[in-house]
């Protein structure tokens, strides 16, 4: 087996192991035998069944879906913007989605409205960034896009700050803060049922275009001279990646670092080819968020926000990757 195939096998193995572990550990421990019994439909105690199917099941599934979606979106953004430091945050997607959700919370809306607002906010933000960025003539188009993303992200951040300042400190502010930190604790099956199709709708074009997307990593002139309508292709892939990000963010709130870190790690293992990179990044992203979320609910008596943990793990890991792979991405 070559090292590339080994990477997939190890990542898939880690994912299966972590999934079993995530079901097992917690305030109400479940043995592997009990877990298998529930999954194959044998009768077990009602408590065990409730914990596996009602409590931990949706949460584990959500961690897998959100982790894989954020990693896939990050992989697409990094290849497309020829910049390994780019992540879903850079195009204002996360800020836009956050502003949408905070706005919905501010107006005391229910969970469904919050999700719709987060989704629309993310798409509007990236649309705005893309529109302004593509109209800044006379600059490197990618630099214009990335800088516009940073500036718009900052602007949206200050609007969020204003809403937090104006929010009712007893009812709304804790909800806003909780959402901005990100959490998988309150996932309901219907949230997942709403997010999963959107994430899949974003994934489909990426899978179909998996080879052609590679050409976006070339300088624009070269890709066009090779026969690619870069504008059309880039727009399509940005839309797909944004859809995945928004779907994930709408379920889990803002969980940073995954879209930046995971594609990096995957690229070190299998190289930059998008078709090989995408599945591995999704496996690793799912495994990473599942591990983080399991840690979040078990290391302390209170839940630690996963965004805090991803940042704590992500920062040194990223610096290490950066030092290791400074020559070639």
């Amino acid at each position: 087996m070559n090292s590339r195939a080994l990477s997939y096998v190890l990542a898939a193995g880690a994912l299966v192991g972590l999934t079993a572990l995530a079901f097992a550990v917690g305030r109400y421990p479940i043995s592997l035998a009990e877990l298998v019994s529930v999954l194959v439909g044998k009768s077990v105690s009602a408590n065990v069944e409730t914990v596996v199917l009602q409590v931990r099941g949706p949460r584990v599934l959500a961690a897998l879906v959100v982790g894989a979606a954020l990693a896939a979106a990050g992989t697409a953004y990094q290849g497309m913007f020829r910049n390994p430091l780019v992540s879903p945050d850079i195009l204002g997607v996360s800020s836009g989605a956050a502003l949408g959700a905070v706005l919905a919370i501010f107006f005391s809306q229910g969970i469904i409205v919050i999700q719709v607002f987060a989704f629309v906010g993310g798409l509007v933000a990236v649309g705005l960034v893309y529109w302004i960025g593509s109209r800044l003539r006379g600059h490197d188009p990618l630099l214009a896009l990335v800088l516009t993303g940073v500036v718009i992200g900052t602007l949206l951040g200050s609007v969020i700050a204003l809403l937090k300042y104006l929010a009712d400190p007893y009812n709304q502010l804790p909800a806003i803060t909780y959402w901005l930190l990100g959490s998988l604790a309150a996932i309901a099956p219907r949230d997942l049922a709403a997010a999963a199709p959107l994430a899949l709708a974003g994934l489909a074009p990426m899978l179909l275009l998996r080879w052609r997307v590679n050409l976006l990593a070339l300088p624009d002139d070269e890709a066009r001279a090779l026969g690619v309508d870069t504008r059309k292709l880039r727009t399509l892939v940005v839309a797909a990646a944004t859809l995945m990000t928004a779907a994930a963010v709408a379920v889990s709130g803002i969980i940073g670092w995954i879209g930046l870190l995971i594609p990096h790690a995957a690229r070190l293992l299998v190289g930059p080819d998008f078709g090989r990179l995408l599945p591995l990044a999704m496996l690793l992203g799912a495994a990473f968020l599942l591990a983080v979320d399991t840690l979040c609910r078990t290391i302390a008596t209170i839940e630690v926000p996963p965004g805090v943990l991803t940042a704590l793990i992500g920062t040194p890991f990223f610096l290490w990757l950066f030092a290791l792979a400074r020559r070639s991405w």
Partner: protein, 255 residues
């Protein structure tokens, strides 16, 4: 194969050259000589359809460039840019396979035939041993050949090379010029830019002298490359020496 008729070219809102006309037949190599900022790269980008012409016409194989899609242009004309800043460590094989894009469907992945074609192209350029190496790790000369390989994988009738010898050592310059001659002999039309008039003598059938966006002269190297024309082009004194066997070389005079 390539016909350019009273072409005016430049960037949106700024014309940098005009009145350029020439045609390039199958198997013919033409070298464009000109000072820095003389409009060589802009001319090439216009011929490749990357910039809108400001006037005049460009035809590829008798068909107007304007009526061709990006994909159709890429099936007819290949581009070797001046140097390539690689961002990601694609293998040379994957890099060359990107040249197959114009021959693949939108959702397709290169098949066995594409891979075999890429291997053959690498073989013909003598860099088959680099297939598994990362483009970010090979030397400048090797990367230049990989870029040529990628353009050849397009199977184009016309090849445009923008200063293919720039930043290469002497040996690699000679090797790239050899490839240009060999490729022209196989029937491909070649348009290339150089900073060295000797390269025009070595590898081209005709020369286009380009200054301030206009074609000063077009013709066979021995006819066009003279002390006075080079003086006019570059503003320096050069002696053009005939050598045995009908060859020529250019020797600048230092003051």
């Amino acid at each position: 194969m390539l016909q350019v008729e009273s072409l005016a070219y430049g960037f949106p809102g700024r014309t940098v050259g005009r009145d350029v006309s020439f045609s390039l037949g199958a198997g013919e190599a033409m070298c464009v000589l000109g000072p820095n900022g003389g409009g060589k790269t802009t001319l090439f980008r216009t011929i490749l359809g990357l910039l809108q012409p400001h006037g005049g016409t460009i035809q590829l194989g008798g068909i107007s460039l304007e009526s061709l899609s990006r994909r159709e242009i890429a099936q007819r004309i290949g581009y070797v840019p001046q140097g390539h800043s690689a961002y990601f460590a694609y293998t040379v094989r994957d890099f060359v396979l990107m040249g197959r894009t114009a021959h693949l469907g939108v959702f397709s992945v290169p098949g066995r035939e594409d891979v075999e074609l890429a291997e053959r192209v690498l073989e013909s350029l003598g860099i088959a041993h680099l297939a598994g190496r990362a483009v970010t790790e090979v030397s400048g000369g090797e990367r230049q050949l990989a870029l040529v390989a990628r353009a050849l994988a397009q199977e184009p009738a016309t090849l445009v090379l923008d200063e293919p010898t720039a930043s290469l050592d002497f040996g690699n310059q000679v090797r790239v010029l050899e490839k240009i001659s060999t490729l022209a002999a196989t029937g491909i039309s070649i348009l290339f830019a150089s900073h060295d008039p000797d390269h025009a003598f070595l590898a081209s059938h005709r020369v286009l002298l380009l200054a301030e966006g206009r074609a000063l002269e077009i013709g066979p190297p021995a006819q066009v490359i003279r002390a006075d024309s080079l003086k006019r082009l570059y503003g320096v004194s050069v002696e053009v020496l005939p050598l045995a066997g009908g060859r020529h070389t250019c020797l600048p005079e230092l003051r």
